[in-house]
Amino acid sequence: MNTLITTLFLGTTRGAVFALVALGLVLVWRGAGIVNFAQMGQAMFSTYVASTLIIKGYGYWFAFLIALAVGAILGAIVDLAVMRPLTRRSHAGVLASDSMRATVPVIASLGILGVLQSLAGMIWAAEERGFPTPVSDVAVKPFGKTAPFTKFDLFIIVVVALTLVVTTLFFKKTGMGLAMRATALNPEVARLSGIRISRVRTLSWAISGVASSLAGLLITPSANLSPNTLDLILIVGFTAAVVGGLDSLPGSVVGGFILGLLIAVINVYVSPDDVFLALLVFLLLVLILKPGGLFASKKVRNV
């Protein structure tokens, strides 16, 4: 019984982090039509920045905020310096066909991932580091009994819940949120309405950068920080995004939680070795039974 509850808690906290990763991926996918494989590389980079600041003696929260800012800036830079020039329509040659126009930015994101990982290796000498938590990460003991979770678990759940609420309000209640949805859904009508879609896209990249940096900050205390620790997180986050339908923000969040729980259950009750096999089977099942993902945006007829 106790194992089950612990497992569910672990699954929920991990799921919360996967939800953030998936959210970041979906934001860029919807906003710019690109699957950003560099995303967790950006997160790794900003987590290293935070770690360096903490080692230098700055407080956790200062480092936390700087890391989020670095995440936003890196996201914007990837768009402005690489993606925007690459997707410009005036490019002839390799980018002439639609399939190349869709593929090249994805390949570019893999390149950026490589660059970020080698840069981090050069700057931080590829040393593995631990990463602190702002609150205790040993199990809380109310009334002398050991609870199945730690303060840090609660912290993760609260931070992710807040992030999701803020994101939802931003998209539903603000003009910029509306501009972002319109740009993702129909760039032509958005432009005709006066929405500056390239700025909106850069903003999508920046917000995605913040979400994934947050994921990096929350997950590294339970892993070790090295230039490629977050690669696996990206794979799980991507699976979560696909399970959720890839273009649905709520879907990506639910997908993240489902995968978190699935992984925790397989880890504890089957074997840690089978986690990726289970992920693959689950992904295939979803794709076969519901090809558009569990939460594919409701189709509205376009006639």
Binding site: L178, R181, A182, L185, L192, S297
Partner: protein
Amino acid sequence: MLEIRNVVASYGSVVALKDISFTAEIGKITTVIGANGAGKSTLLRLISGLEVATSGAIHWQGESLLGKSPESIVRMGVAHVPEGHAVIAPLTVAENIEMGALFRARSNKDDVKLAIGEVYELFPRLEERKNQLAGTLSGGERQMLAISRALVSRPSLLLLDEPSLGLAPLVVEQIIETIKALCISTGLTVLLVEQNANTALSVADHGVLLSIGSVVADQPAPLMRADSALRSAYLGY
């Protein structure tokens, strides 16, 4: 005045417009008619900045439009309602309308509210369906929504691409009457692209007839309407 001078445009090797010139007067409805593939939509897309011309000039109230982005052209008072009920289906009716005024929502807050109130007054059906997804509207309601989206930007030039497409004659008449009233009350200039030449010419002040990318007639609408030789040569009735 909208001035189109020697405009040439092509899609790759397909020349869509071959040296087009005409003008549209302020406060008037000018209709551009012609058969399928004549280049009518291309013309509107050039004016609103969605396509780029090969050569020529387009001026609205003395300012050049060619080479500007659609985002900037909207800010110059030019609103384009593209072909086929262009609304964003997964957004609500209210969001679609709000979207059209986003670019001036901060600088002109009060006027935006006023403008949104006005379109709801013009099309009460939209107000009743405010919180419904645009994708659930009927064809006619979608066209009203697309026009409302354009109107809340307070355009001085409105580009309408086949508003009658797929609509019942009664709805078309209602929409066109609404537009006509706006021209008279606010001095709005309209460039109306239509397949249905008869309806278009009956409301328009001026007619421009396009045939495979060239202007073949440019006359007051009543004259064009009465010209049966022209009609049978280019419109097939």
